[in-house]
């Protein structure tokens, strides 16, 4: 131990150097130094080791300090900037525009940062795919940024390697491949629309002319592109204009939640769901999707029956409505299917030019082509659907390319394989045996953000940067480019796909920023570039880069031939693969927010399951949670069963993305790997599935066990024609109602905050729940706690079925604290921890709460959440960076609930009042409202008659939840409207 230089009584004080701190003003002024020689002889030499006096002194001091520190915490430190970054005001959030990739396309986002620390992702109102809304995966991806299990650096054969050393090795490898033109070099990438990546790939192929790029996306929309090629001769991209669509026939397309530009589509669809000029949606599907829940007619059929149904519609259009062009494409159907098809055809015909037929990615290309021809024949093309050149560099990214690569790998024709696609060893169809083949590649370079199935077999693993740490660019489906800009330097050493590719093209020293910027400089010219670039970064889009729609002419004969050759529906029990609404293809399986988010329809958390209909379950003698052995084409996987009301009979939906063997703590060992049954010949719809009961049971953690309203008026829905007659019925659920305590008059207050939730617009996707979780620091509790009903989401989305279990309709109802004016929770709290503000907020005071839970007992809406455990005790330090500093982090034993985003109210209020202005009626936007793509949630000041929320609360559809209790909720609901076809009633 080095000698302590504490000032010992009787010893000279050590010399105070210029860098040393001072303890008193006198010492600082230099007057406290004792004059040398004023001490007795022999005491001047300081002991050169840890002496007895030092020991006694420390002992006494630490005992005294231990006593003191129990009384007073140590003083906090404040750290100032050396140089304050431009645009940063400490304690005020900043917002930066960027873009996230979804299937290779851009979704514009605004990222909230606090002193350089991103805390929340929101939609970018100026970007066409977002329009200010955010989907589940955009919202949740910020959690991945702070995941402590992310990889760091480069690892080669289990040993860390410096990035600079890797660059050298890559250069050597590239030089070796250059000799034969890269004949043994391959790149396995995800489809992307990035112009900068396009440049790098072009450079790669210029340097290695015999190398090849294979694109692979397990959720690729190949069928749509091939279908467009059949119909138009080229693989065009469809863009739907749902604002103009009166009648929509969706053939297995989940266009409101998981396919295409779903945020934009949901916004446009919802805009036509209120009284005036309501649209009508027919949804033909096997599983129960979010879009199916929003449909007026959900046509329950096996996925393999969708094509015959569509042909029956085409036949009916040709036979009864004078569209002979469709005669060769149609094939009449008998029975119920034929009658339904005739009614749908009639409706589509009567709305010609204002109708739309759209097809999901799982359906065969011939059906996509048929829909294109039907849309053209009905005059919908150019009005409700326009076609553009695809923005993706690789419009085709399905099984075909991957199979070709697998053949090359098996033949030993590849020496170096660069993999930037996510986890192909897991996502590849099982029959390709890709995991084993990848293990045999001499040089496998894999870009990954976390350990996964592929990183286990890769020789070289390069840590991938999170999109919020990356420079890059992307295009939206309409071609509009966005610059991806980083919000912070990588938390751990990691690089982007651009950096990795450039290491092989001789530009590894440049870095992604230069590559992107120089690329755009070359595209747009030097003049005024710097200013334009700053503008693009600020706006989040590069103006004027949208691609114009192209005029199309259909080739009906080619489509007819394709339809004739289309695969017949497979016999036997149907296996229908689907991307999971939360985990997608598995890349979000490690995201605990998504794992804990209840599935939009089944309300399942922390799991996937084989979904089948009540009738099929009865036939097979299965109950919820029974584990069955699923066998398909000789492969077997054990999976729990979930009985899904409304599912097509004799069909089983198998959600992908679970059953990960190598993943982070949140994703490993959860659910079953449906992908292990997937076959390259039929990656989406297959037949001949066998189910065998194993006798085992699996606990499924579902957040809503009651699917009916038990005869109470909770989520109300009416047919649009019946609404005028329902006014008296609705009057029972609104208006004056006696309250237990004397009612308070809030009409004189300046602000009376309130909310209106339009059930007609809500699709039930769950984005509001996640946005609330991000905004309000809501903890994750895990599967065990969810099984005990201890989930902490302040905002839940209830889903109720109506009708028979075989074929019900559903209503989704977002429900958070409704801020009762006469709140039952308040008068039972013994410590006044929940009280009312003068503006009507039902406030929760965490510091007063002693955890009696009386409030939750007395809450009629069951929206209060209790911290049974210290859910943050084990949080990694890096994960704490995610917390919103404007919201208190709650401790164990404390009740919490929706605060109407009071931190946002106060931020807007202080901003306005500091300027001497009033807060506008619509100026405060709650987190749930902001994320909602359907604009179903509206927040604002009820005392401002011009505000949107005040007008909505005056709507004829308004009703109050549990009105009869006299709680006077501030959140009002607007009844769900349906627009059924009388002919199908």
């Amino acid at each position: 131990m080095p000698p302590l230089s504490l000032p010992i009584h009787g010893q000279p004080a050590p010399h105070r150097g210029p860098e040393q701190r001072w303890r008193s003003l006198a010492e600082a002024a230099g007057s406290a130094d004792p004059a040398a020689g004023s001490y007795p002889d022999g005491d001047e030499a300081a002991p050169d080791s840890f002496g007895r006096r030092s020991f006694m002194q420390l002992l006494g001091a630490s005992a005294a300090l231990a006593g003191l520190s129990a009384c007073k915490p140590p003083r906090e430190k404040v750290v100032s900037y050396v140089r304050r970054p431009a645009g940063v005001t400490p304690s005020l959030p900043g917002f930066y525009a960027s873009a996230l990739s979804r299937g290779g396309h851009a979704v514009g986002v605004l990222v909230e940062t606090h002193e350089g620390r991103p805390t929340k992702i929101e939609g970018n109102p100026g970007q066409a795919a977002s329009l200010g809304a955010a989907g589940l995966h955009e919202l949740a991806s910020i959690l991945d940024l702070y995941d402590p299990s992310r990889l760091a650096g480069v690892r080669r054969d289990g040993r860390p390697l410096a990035w600079s050393a890797f660059l050298q090795e890559a250069a050597g490898l590239a030089a070796a491949h250059e000799k034969d033109g890269g004949a043994r070099l391959r790149l396995l990438a995800e489809p992307t629309s990035s112009p900068a990546l396009a440049d790098q790939r072009a450079r790669l192929l210029a340097r290695f002319p015999r190398a090849r790029v294979h694109a692979w996306d397990p959720l690729a929309e190949d069928a749509a592109r091939v279908g467009a090629r059949l119909a138009f001769g080229r693989p065009l991209e469809a863009a739907y204009q749902l604002e103009g669509a009166d009648v929509i026939l969706s053939l297995d397309a989940d266009f409101l939640a998981s396919e295409g530009d779903h945020l934009r589509n949901a916004r446009a669809f919802a805009s036509r769901r209120t009284q005036a000029g309501m649209n009508r949606l027919y949804q033909a599907e096997a599983g129960y999707s979010v879009t199916g829940g929003a449909a007026d007619h959900r046509l329950r059929m096996r996925a393999g029956e969708v094509l015959p149904f569509a042909r029956a519609v085409a036949a009916a259009l040709a036979a009864h409505h004078g569209l002979p062009a469709l005669a060769a494409l149609g094939a009449a159907a008998a029975g119920e299917l034929g009658r339904t098809a005739a009614a749908v055809a009639k409706d589509l015909y009567s709305a010609r030019g204002r109708g739309l037929v759209l097809v999901g990615r799982r359906q065969p290309a011939a059906l996509h082509a048929l829909a294109a021809v039907v849309n053209a024949a009905l005059g919908n093309t150019g009005v409700t659907v326009v076609w553009r050149e695809p923005a993706l560099l690789d419009p085709l990214a399905g099984v075909a390319g991957l199979s070709a690569l697998a053949r090359e790998l098996a033949a030993g024709q590849v020496d170096t394989l660069i993999v930037t696609a996510w986890n192909p060893a897991y996502t590849a169809p099982a029959d390709l045996g890709l995991a084993a083949l990848l293990g045999k590649v001499p040089n496998l370079v894999y870009l990954a953000s976390r350990e996964d199935e592929t990183s286990q077999v890769a020789g070289t693993v390069v840590a991938a940067a999170h999109p919020l740490e990356s420079w890059g660019d992307l295009r939206g489906r309409d071609g509009t480019a966005s610059i991806v800009q980083p919000l912070l330097a990588p938390l751990a050493e990691s690089v982007t796909e651009l950096d990795l590719l450039s290491a092989f093209t001789g530009q590894g020293h440049l870095g992604a920023w230069r590559l992107v910027r120089d690329g755009w400089k070359a595209r747009t010219g030097e003049a005024g570039f710097d200013q334009a670039w700053d503008g693009w970064l600020a706006a989040g889009v590069v103006a004027g880069t949208a691609r114009p729609p192209v005029a199309v002419a259909v080739d009906a004969a080619a489509v007819a031939a394709a339809l004739a050759a289309a695969p017949v529906p497979p016999a036997g029990l149907e296996a229908c693969f689907a991307p999971d609404d939360k985990a997608l293809d598995g890349r979000f399986a490690d995201n605990a927010w998504l794992q804990e988010l209840p599935h939009p329809v089944s309300k399942l958390t922390w799991d996937n399951a084989a979904f089948l209909s009540p009738a099929t379950a009865r036939r097979l003698g299965l109950a919820d949670g029974d584990v069955v052995a699923l066998s398909l084409r000789g492969r077997t996987v054990d999976a729990p069963v979930l009985i899904q009301p409304g599912h097509a009979d004799e069909s089983v939906t198998l959600p992908l993305g679970y059953g990960r063997t190598q993943a982070g703590p949140a994703g490993a060992g959860i659910g079953f790997a449906a992908g292990a049954l997937r076959h390259a010949a039929a990656p989406w719809i297959d037949g001949g599935l066998e189910l065998r009961k194993t006798g085992r049971r699996h606990a499924l953690a579902r957040t809503q066990e009651h699917f009916s309203m038990e005869g109470r008026a909770i989520a109300l829905g009416y047919d649009v024609g019946a609404l005028p007659h329902a006014a008296h019925e609705l009057d029972e659920h609104r208006g004056e109602q006696a309250t237990i305590l004397p009612a308070v008059d809030y009409s004189k207050e300046e602000y009376r905050w309130g909310m209106a939730i339009d059930l007609s617009r809500c699709t039930g996707c769950g984005a509001c729940t996640l946005a609330c979780q991000a905004e309000n620091n809501i903890p994750i509790v895990g599967k065990e706690q969810v099984l005990k009903s201890r989930e902490m989401h302040w905002l839940r989305v209830d889903r109720y079925y109506e009708g028979t279990p075989a074929d019900p309709t559903s209503v989704s109802q977002p429900l958070a604290c409704v801020h009762c004016e006469s709140a039952p929770c308040e008068y039972v709290c013994p410590v006044n921890a929940t009280v009312h503000s003068d503006e009507g907020l039902n406030e929760m005071v965490y510091n007063r709460c002693v955890g009696t839970r009386y409030c939750s007992n007395n809450c009629a809406y069951k929206v209060r959440r209790f911290n049974y455990l210290d859910y943050r005790g084990t949080m990694a330090p890096v994960s704490k960076m995610l917390q919103n500093p404007d919201v208190t982090v709650r401790a164990r034993g404390v009740m919490e609930k929706c605060s109407y985003c009071v931190q946002r109210i106060e931020r807007v209020r202080i901003g306005a009042r500091s300027q001497g202005e009033k807060v506008g009626g619509d100026a405060v936007v709650s987190a749930c409202q902001q994320a909602c793509s359907a604009e179903a949630i509206v927040f604002g000041n009820l005392n401002d008659p011009a505000s949107r929320v005040a007008r909505l609360q005056q709507d004829e559809r308004r009703y109050d939840l549990l009105h009869e209790l006299g709680t006077r909720p501030r959140t009002a609901y607007l009844v769900r409207l349906r627009n059924p076809n009388p002919e199908l009633a």
């Binding site: 430190k77 900037y81 140089r83 005001t89 304690s91």
Partner: protein, 216 residues
């Protein structure tokens, strides 16, 4: 058999209960009182900072406005601790060899921030916002005192919830014209009540006393 307890034990029991009760009340009351003393609220403690910064000199002698250094006080929750760059905007020219500024220069050249010790500390669950107070005419000196007379910054007000609420319930005696907000030497006129009433009207001062006004 004689009684197990003598008569005397009644008195003993009552006395014991009384002492225990008084002791419990005294402990609780004492703690409550203790946290309200200047010692409990950390008032009037001179904190040693890494740089011997003297507000007296900067405010009194040089007449530098508070907002020159604490620049976000009128637009953000935090008043802002000046970055090293700001210190050196003057001190690269004057006193640029003073040993008192060694730490500042080291911070600049090493690009390492200066770590100050916080003097005015509110609990983490209090969301105090400087901007709204300053923009409504609450002067810096109302909470921070005569900074121009402090060699070392110390906390002069208790900064307890009661202190906040006193003013939130009756803000008028604490208001001053906006032009004088940062003027620590401002002397209120004789009739401060009238001025306060007028300013409250003029600036639309309506402080709230809801829980969520400060706790979120």
């Amino acid at each position: 058999m004689s009684a197990l307890f003598t008569k005397r034990s009644n008195a003993l029991l009552l006395t014991t209960l009384g002492v225990l009760g008084l002791g419990a009340a005294g402990t609780i009351g004492g703690l409550l009182l203790y946290w309200r003393t200047p010692y409990g609220t950390n008032q009037n403690v001179q904190i040693v900072q890494p740089v011997q910064f003297d507000h007296r000199h900067h405010v009194q002698d040089d007449l530098i406005d508070c907002r020159y250094c604490h620049s976000s006080v009128d637009k953000a929750p935090s008043a802002g601790i000046p970055p090293t760059e700001l210190c050196l905007s003057c001190h690269s020219q004057i006193w640029n060899k003073s040993p008192l500024l060694d730490v500042v220069r080291q911070s600049w050249f090493a690009n390492k921030p200066i770590v100050w010790t916080r003097v005015h500390k509110l609990p983490d669950f209090v969301y105090f916002n400087h901007a709204i107070h300053v923009n409504k005419g609450v002067g810096c000196a109302e909470c921070h005192g005569r900074v121009d007379q402090m060699a070392v910054i110390e906390q002069v007000q208790p900064l307890t919830m009661g202190f906040c609420l006193d003013c939130h319930r009756n803000p008028q005696p604490r208001l001053r014209p906006l032009e004088e907000v940062a003027n620590v030497r401002w002397r209120p006129p004789a009739d401060r009540a009238a001025l306060g009433a007028e300013l409250a009207r003029k600036y639309d001062v309506k402080p709230k006393v809801n829980c969520t006004t400060c706790h979120r």
